[in-house]
């Protein structure tokens, strides 16, 4: 058993920290503006540094550094900007699915561009009938000669207004689901309303609806196999979506804890710093312990993937990391707000923003109730 990070993982952490402190932190007010042009330069920079393709195969332009490395990046980014941590997850989701399941032309043409920060897509999954119950989706994809015709409406789509391609999961028959690449500009794509999520009301992370009205794409655009679209979707959602949610939550929790610790050491009450008060010390102990616990779950699940385990083999560990980390983030952020007193609810102290982002992670990439069902199913079958 070895709990140490490798030297290259440590160097990666230093690099991401420096990137975040020097290049992202000074621009947070700009990133958090509600309207304006999406910051393409940051995407390009993340590509140039090799962060976008961190865990993607080398043959398609990635760095194949592994899932622990990706966890490090999410954790460090989320300490300062959960929007960019979420975006990193978003860039990697379709890239992961295409890299592992094809089609071959997209592996050569799309994935390298994603890695360089020049092209972005998303996994266009959620509908009003539900995100977690994917079998209930109503968007259809019906074969017409060598093409597919797609019809349907997707909601809660991250970066919906600036994407270069969409990857909707569609119903292609009774218990048959097909996952397809739809390039931007294909006739019949319509952008719907922008949705206001508590942590996604910024120009950096716009979220909204996408409609597909008789959208025609060639059969070569299928990711994986026709009728077996859940396979690439679930692999990417597990390795990138859920673990990303866990990593973002971990970063948020650590940042909130650090802020609370600093405040407790500097804020005086009754003639002494409040960290001297037992009630505050106990809260900090709980926070620190939960953060460290979440850290182990997050890195353990990532490490299992780096050991060559399939996502389906470690679904329980991934779900556990996501539940533990996201519940930790929420709890730690709330305690951090309490320690700050009324200041905790003001944006100047930076804790309330962490709380908003932590709330998002509870339901993102599969609700925690769905995660617990995954864990329960695994336990029951052991």
């Amino acid at each position: 058993m070895d709990f140490n990070f490798t030297r290259e993982q440590e160097m990666l952490r230093n690099m991401v920290r420096e990137f975040v402190q020097k290049e992202l932190a000074p621009r947070i007010p700009e990133f958090d503006e509600p309207e304006g042009e999406w910051p393409y330069d940051v995407f390009k920079r993340m590509g140039q540094l090799g962060l976008v393709g961190l865990a993607l195969p080398k043959e398609f332009g990635g760095n194949a550094m592994g899932h622990v490395a990706l966890m490090i990046a999410w954790e460090e980014l989320a300490k300062v900007s959960s929007s960019w941590a979420s975006n990193l997850r978003g860039f990697a989701l379709p890239a992961y699915a295409i890299s592992h399941y094809g089609p071959a032309w997209a592996q050569k043409e799309i994935v390298p561009k994603i890695c360089r920060g020049e092209m972005q897509g998303n996994m266009t999954l959620t509908e009003d009938v539900g995100g977690s119950d994917m079998g209930a989706i109503r968007t259809t994809c019906l074969r017409d000669g060598d093409d597919y015709i797609i019809n349907g409406r997707k909601i809660m789509q991250s970066r919906y207004s600036i994407l270069d391609f969409f990857c909707p999961i569609c119903r292609s028959g009774e218990k048959s689901y097909t996952f397809v690449i739809v390039p931007k500009g294909t006739p019949g794509i319509e952008l719907g309303r922008r949705e206001n999520y508590i942590s996604a009301m910024t120009k950096t992370l716009p979220v909204g609806e996408v409609m597909f009205n008789n959208v025609r794409v060639p059969k070569e655009n299928v990711i994986g196999e026709e009728g077996k679209g859940f396979r690439p979707v679930l692999a990417a959602v597990g390795a990138i979506g859920r673990l990303g949610g866990a990593g973002i939550s971990l970063g948020l929790a650590e940042a909130a804890y650090e802020k609370a610790l600093h405040y407790a050491k500097t804020r005086h009450l009754y003639g002494k710093p409040i960290i001297e008060l037992q009630v505050i010390r106990w809260m900090l102990v709980d926070m620190e312990t939960r953060v460290e616990t979440a850290k182990y779950f997050c890195y353990y699940a990532s490490w299992l993937l780096d050991q060559g385990k399939k996502v389906s083999e470690v679904a329980k560990e991934i779900a556990r990391a996501k539940v533990v980390a996201s519940e930790t983030a929420l709890d730690v952020c709330l305690k951090a707000i309490e320690i700050h007193g009324a200041y905790g609810t003001t944006p100047e102290f930076g804790v309330i923003q962490k709380m908003k982002s932590a709330l998002d992670q509870i339901t993102a990439a599969g609700s925690n109730q769905v995660m617990k069902r995954t864990i329960a199913d695994a336990i029951a079958s052991e």
Partner: protein, 266 residues
């Protein structure tokens, strides 16, 4: 014009964690346990400048450091930033060196490397802060040097003008190669290593030279060879006392002057 460029770097405690540093009251040394180490911040600017010079004229950049085995980490980061070679001077006999006994082995190592055109150092380190190693190194190598450099401009293949910061302004100094400069942070913005560069650097071997490799007698290096010895270190203690002087303006002024004289401040 392919240049041979040498950058001297030091691994230091992370300045952002300085508040956690304490002094060992017995040994008089800094307690570094649990404090992460980083490349001395100004040395990163020296690395960046070396890389910029190489990009302009072609050549080779060698990073060199003296320190314990873990100082390899700093050299690995220098490799990730883009330097071509890295050498660590690592020997128990080198421990406890003052600036003289640091500059001397560095000079011998640079001679052993062979031809050199430019040597770059950070102006000072955040832990020792003497700013002496660069100039001493230049003296040992018998080459000109300029400290506090904030900009450089090559005037020909063999000469350069450097801008040296001084109080209320700057000096423009012309130098012939080979020469040494020590740089300030205004000179450039150090680059971040890319993921691919990090992965390559982590797998690179770093040469390690001991006193024997540089033909150094052990009595001229390290603590034994240091002409200066630290006899004590003290933590700065700031004590503030408050005293309120009351009365009319004239009375307060008079009493304040009297009190300051009593305290020896006037």
């Amino acid at each position: 014009m392919a240049l041979e460029i040498v950058v001297c770097i030091k691994q230091v405690p992370d300045p952002e964690q300085f508040s956690k540093i304490t002094l060992d009251p017995v040994k008089g040394t800094i307690r570094r346990e649990g404090i992460p180490s980083v490349i001395n911040p100004l040395d990163k600017h020296a690395i960046e400048e070396a890389l910029l010079i190489r990009e302009k004229f072609s050549g080779r950049v060698t990073a060199i450091s003296m320190g314990p085995p873990q100082a390899k980490e700093a050299l690995q980061e220098a490799l990730a930033m883009g330097v071509d070679e890295a050498v660590l001077l690592c020997d128990r006999a080198l421990a406890g060196a003052d600036t003289w006994a640091t500059a001397y082995p560095l000079a011998e190592a640079i001679k052993k490397l062979g031809k050199f055109d430019i040597i770059l150092c950070g102006n000072e380190t955040v832990d020792g802060a003497t700013a002496q190693v660069g100039p001493q190194l230049a003296e040992f190598l018998n080459i000109p040097h300029v400290t506090n450099v904030t900009a450089i401009e090559f005037t020909s293949e063999k000469s350069w003008n450097v801008r040296r910061a001084i109080e209320r302004g700057y000096m423009k100094v012309a130098l012939e190669l080979p020469s040494l400069i020590t740089v300030l942070k205004d000179i450039n913005q150090p680059r971040l290593p890319s993921v691919i560069a990090i992965m390559e650097a982590a797998g690179r071997e770093i040469r390690s030279w001991g006193c024997g490799d540089m033909c150094l007698a052990e009595n001229v290096v390290g603590l034994v060879g240091s002409p200066t010895q630290v006899v004590g270190t003290f933590e700065q203690e700031v004590k503030r006392a408050r005293e309120i002087i009351r009365g009319s303006e004239a009375e307060v002024a008079k009493k304040a002057v009297k009190r300051l004289k009593e305290l020896g401040a006037l």
